[in-house]
Structures are given as C-alpha cells and as structure tokens.
Assembly symmetry: C2
Homo-oligomer: 89 residues x 2
C-alpha cells in the first residue's frame, strides 16, 4: 500500500472535475485523499467526498473532518473544511 496522499482543492469547477482529479489520484494508488475547500465551496467538497466514496474510492472511508476559518483580504474571515479519506484497514 502506498503512503502517498492525493490533495484536491475544491473550488468553482463542476463537481465532476474533482471526481476526475480523485480518479487520477486513485489510479496513482494513493492511500489517502484530502479534500480542501473554503466558503461557499464547502458544500461542494462534502458532495464530492460522498460521490467519490460511492463510485471511485469504494475501499476508502472518511477518517477525519476538520473545520476552521482563515482571514482573507480586507480582514474578512472565510470558513474552511478539510476532509480526509483513507483506505480501509
């Protein structure tokens, strides 16, 4: 089993683009996939994780979800999420 991690930043593209990125990571044999998103894209990141677990990463499971916030330009704060999915033991 590879110890390599696939990191996918979920932004404004359609959900399918991120599923494709995860497929590519899966083809590389990664043992962990990390999805990161901010603001409005947080909902999309959760959608991507659920879809990926159902159709691409069938032998993976969510190992950790963490949320937080970051200061961006203008002192405004934006919420963040990090979803870690690992190959089942």
């Amino acid at each position: 089993m590879s110890a390599e991690v696939g990191e996918v930043l979920v932004g404004k593209k359609p959900t399918a683009s991120y599923i494709q990125a995860i497929l590519t990571a899966a083809a590389r044999g990664v043992s962990e996939v990390v999805l990161k998103a901010r603001g409005r894209n947080i909902s999309k990141a959760v959608d991507v994780s659920q879809l990926a677990l159902r159709i691409v990463l069938k032998d993976f499971e969510v190992s950790n979800v963490s949320i937080g916030s970051e200061e961006v330009a203008g002192g405004r704060r934006v919420s963040t999420i990090e979803i870690r999915m690992r190959k089942k033991a």
Copy 2:
C-alpha cells in the same frame, strides 16, 4: 454544568437567525450545541459554527464533525453535516 444539548437545524434563514438560536441555547446553559444541515446549507452551518465560537460560545470548541448523505424524494441523494461543539473541559 448542564448535560443539556442544544440542537440547531441550519436551513435557508440568514446566518444571524441561527446565531440567535445558539444565544438562546447558551442562555439556557447547555453544555453542547449540535448544528445540522443538508445540501447547500452545509457551508452556512460551518459559517455559523465559526461565528458562534468567536462571539457566543467562547468557552466551547468543536468536538466532532461528521458528514454523510441521505436519500430524499425522487431517489436523489443529499449531503449532510453534523457539527458538535462542547464546553471546554
């Protein structure tokens, strides 16, 4: 310390409505607040948690975040999130 839990369903209302609901729960002396949301409202639930921790629940911290999906009318699936915040030990 109360063992009571305040549950807040984050939906279509403005963020401030949910902060108000949390304020009400905090005034009741709850030791745990649980935010639940589905679909597009997931991003808002994370915003509500971050704002609440900064301005209302200053002695609380995120104790668990779980994500999943549910089948809704028409066999469509919708993503879900549950954010638990607990009074710091």
